[in-house]
Assembly symmetry: C2
Homo-oligomer: 322 residues x 2
Amino acid sequence: MMSYISNADNLCWLMPELDRVIRRLHRVVGNAVVDDDRFIIVGNGSTQIFHALLYALSSPDQPEPISVVAAALSTRHIRRRRSSCDRGCINGQGRRSASIRWSLHRGGDFAQQPRWLDSRNRAGHDAMLFTFSKATGHAGSRIGWAIVKDKAIAAKMVKFIELSSIGVSKESQLRAVKILGVIDDDCRNPELEDVNFFEYGRRIMSDRWEKLRRVVIKTNGVFNLPEYPQHNCKFTGEYTHATPAFAWLRCKEGLNCEELLREKCKIMTRGGTSFGGESTYTRVNMLSSDAEFTLCWKGCLRSRTHQWEIEFMLMSTLCVIN
Amino acid sequence: MMSYISNADNLCWLMPELDRVIRRLHRVVGNAVVDDDRFIIVGNGSTQIFHALLYALSSPDQPEPISVVAAALSTRHIRRRRSSCDRGCINGQGRRSASIRWSLHRGGDFAQQPRWLDSRNRAGHDAMLFTFSKATGHAGSRIGWAIVKDKAIAAKMVKFIELSSIGVSKESQLRAVKILGVIDDDCRNPELEDVNFFEYGRRIMSDRWEKLRRVVIKTNGVFNLPEYPQHNCKFTGEYTHATPAFAWLRCKEGLNCEELLREKCKIMTRGGTSFGGESTYTRVNMLSSDAEFTLCWKGCLRSRTHQWEIEFMLMSTLCVIN
């Protein structure tokens, strides 16, 4: 527990117990290929893993900065990082921008999938990024990981993390081992099929999305939500709609969606402009505790506003700023 | 414990308990100014703090890389980092290299002072770097901190750590709070004056240095050690010699000190060339457990080599490679 390195014989110095539990969990969820020839790289959150991957995919000895293209909507943090890259943090050959683009895109998808139940296909990409914070909510532990196919890329990522922080907190690794291990055990226990961690999360999120959609319908087109097609989930064995951690709410043309929700409904969201998008969009955080939801529900029933505003206020615990 | 931030009102998001215990400990040791107008910045080890300080002292929007000059002997890690900087990691105005040089120099001094007893003067520099690993040996926790005078520099360091890892493990912060708190309490307890953490460390290190010096004298000039003048230590109130964590051993001109110790005495050290110095020098790690020391002592008594080689082998637990 006291030294920098847990496993000097391994390519990455992470705790062997953490390597094992990450592979076990991906196998039981069925969302990513974790065969023995894939490398697990751990970093201080997926943030550091993201930097390490950019470094590994670029060629730092080139004179010109590399172009980084994010296919998905970028957050303020991502844009600041990209801005740093443009100033010379990551240098590389322009022709590699395609692979960088792909990596960013997949990384964003996985990291923002809190319940990991996007298990329609067992993904086997060259590099896939995951994070403890989005899996269980333990953001403060700063544990992220990548599953990497190519040994040379994996080795460069490890070197980057060594040079920037000489590894990752052992205390956090140990806690992640314990928590992910309990989740994995429960998922493999047939008696807990209906109450395991992911099933519990799926029920809560389905219920919240259903409520949000009901409220949105009552606004008569002032607000809209994207429709997600049903897919067969390998984990549950059912056809289900996706229920992401964040809902992208869109309002009528010419309206500022974030301002409208804040001023009319006292609901804090993150506007589309924060992500490089339009102000008609806003990102609604669908994750909050049930206790907060109930508290808000009772408070909002005493409110005297238009019906759809009341309805939206009922949802406000789903919408705290993130 | 689960969220990224512990104190949104503070300039740095570290746990308020950690901020308090760091200030208390520096006050009881008397080695650094930690008045309320100084900022405590926490990072993933002093490694990340070092990068954050370089970033904060430079101007990243300049076209040319900044020159970084390390006045102290540099390790392989430091040289690799400097090499990264030269390739464009940190850009800035050349005229700032003097301040960067100063920061590196002081940072190295403090971080390598494991018992913190260089308390001849209560240092009050613009920025001072410390690390949990060198204070108590908990390298795996990845906790480092800086005491920073200027608010703008402190804010830039915090921004750097946010963008590179979104903060520092809460589990590690909590453990550091507990361990540093116990050490601080003991130091303030008059009944534990002779057995507190720093006093215990001082006795062990004095004993080891005394043994090493006795052995070196017996080599009749084959090996030499630097002499340290006596200073008044504010913590103990005594005049004492410095007893650093690493001894810089020098052998006769034309000899390779590291090779000589490895081949003749089976002692692993780190040669001067690893630090940009000469091969006549080698760095001896003076930190190991008493159990290892005793084990080696018994084993070496059965050895049949020249007297000074036996003596050196008795010391070999002080000399494991670091």
